[in-house]
Amino acid sequence: MKTHNCITKLMKVVRVAAVPALVFAAALALNMSPALAEDKKPDYRLQISPTQDNVGKIEPGETHTGSFNVQNTGNKAYQYTVSISPFSFKDDRYEQDFDTTSKYTVLTDWVTFANDEGSVEPGEQSEVKYTVKVPSDAPGGLQSAAIMVTMVNSDEMKSSGVQTVSRAAYPIYMNIGGDTEERGTVIENKIPTLIFNPPLVTSSVVKNAGNVYATATYEMKVYNVFGGKEVYSNAQEDNNGDFKPDSKVIFPETERYNEVEWTNAPKIGIFRVKQTVKIFNEVSEKEKIVFICPIWLILILVAIIAIIVYKIVSGIMKRRDDK
């Protein structure tokens, strides 16, 4: 009886204390959340927006102005410098090249900045304004460069080891009007015949033999072999209701390798796949029957076929022996 009374009293105390305890815990959690969120951010984080300037066509003698923001999404303020570098590509995988100069990178001489350095406080942004003055005698064709935004350290480093510096590159590219040539070829257009696992990946290599940059398009359509119903297309609907396939910019005198992927392909099936690749007026279409089948299923099927063949051959041999 006494024990029961003690327990009853204890329960009353717990019930009375529970509510303020819960309120306190909730308040503590709310107060800690912003601090926890603050701790997750690094001290220094470099961000730019937008990330590149596809100018399009511009005539000799014209001026193009642009800007982007250097944004600070870290916890501490930092300083940065702005500079200009050549911009091109090294190979068909479009590995970027910020060092090689050519007739297509003279743009570096035409770019000026309102300010070539700045600072940005946490949670704020700093605008980088640039002007491109195209000479009246500029040659027709592509011009490309990259604006480099580099975080700088105002303190002298005295430590040993390796120090890393953060930098973001902002490519600018344009086609100068005048003596231009638009010429391209689809060098390769490949569809696999058999894949063991999804995704289904088609590939192509496009060459731009002209002197202006162009956009190549890559369309993949997949149909059921039985029935012919379209089951997949990589074309996406834009705001105008038009369906547009994947596209990639191809710089002049370069080749670009590209892959189109059907990520959600089923693990087994037989499909008719069509890939259409276009650059300028050149169109390459390829169509193929593709088998999707896991390797283990193929091995099982081969084993079953082998057993059937063995049984048939054994039966024939036995009948011959019996005769």
Binding site: R45, T73, E95, D97, N153, T164, S166
Partner: protein
Amino acid sequence: MSKTTKALAALGVVAGLGVAALPIGVGAAPVVDGDTASGDNSATADGNVSDTVTVRTEIKPTLTLEVTGVNDAAIGSGSERHLVLLGTNGELQNGGNGSGTATVKVTTNHLGGYKVNMNGETTGFNGQTNADQKFAPIADNTAAFPTTGASVFGYKTTKDAASATNVTLANDNWNGVKDAATLIATGANATTAAGDEFTITFQAHASESQAADVYDEVVTITATTNI
């Protein structure tokens, strides 16, 4: 007809003409039921009128680069550079090896993905007092970092294969740091909000006769969205 009646009739005509001359409505009228103007879903009268409202916003592409050196705390809070010390407490013994790591995280909403390049100073991994004292860059694509012989310095990139599915590393082996920007990682698509993360490990081997000095190199890590 009396004069009053005639006057009233004349005034009525004038008033009617005046009303007819008034502008009818201001701005675009809503589409009337049965009208085939753009925005109407039906050419037949169905009791509904419709008009269109365009709602629009823009999210601009962003690119974020975050680098963390394993020894950042050693250089205090006033630095935007990041530090990787090689060896125990940044000390390397003759004949020994030392390594350290830097973590790189890239975040972007650019659908075409990104690339990360890295380049070093033209002076290489050299002594601060005597710049002629250097660690040679390791031969590219070296599988195992040497532990004997001449002094060499290099790097290797690694990632968590399970989580960093969007990023492809350029090389799985040890390479020398180049003067020109060299590809170290590619992101095929836009990243998640958490970003793509990978690690750069720097390592040095000091020969038995490497001169005493403080050796360092500054490497620049550059992120760019794909064209």
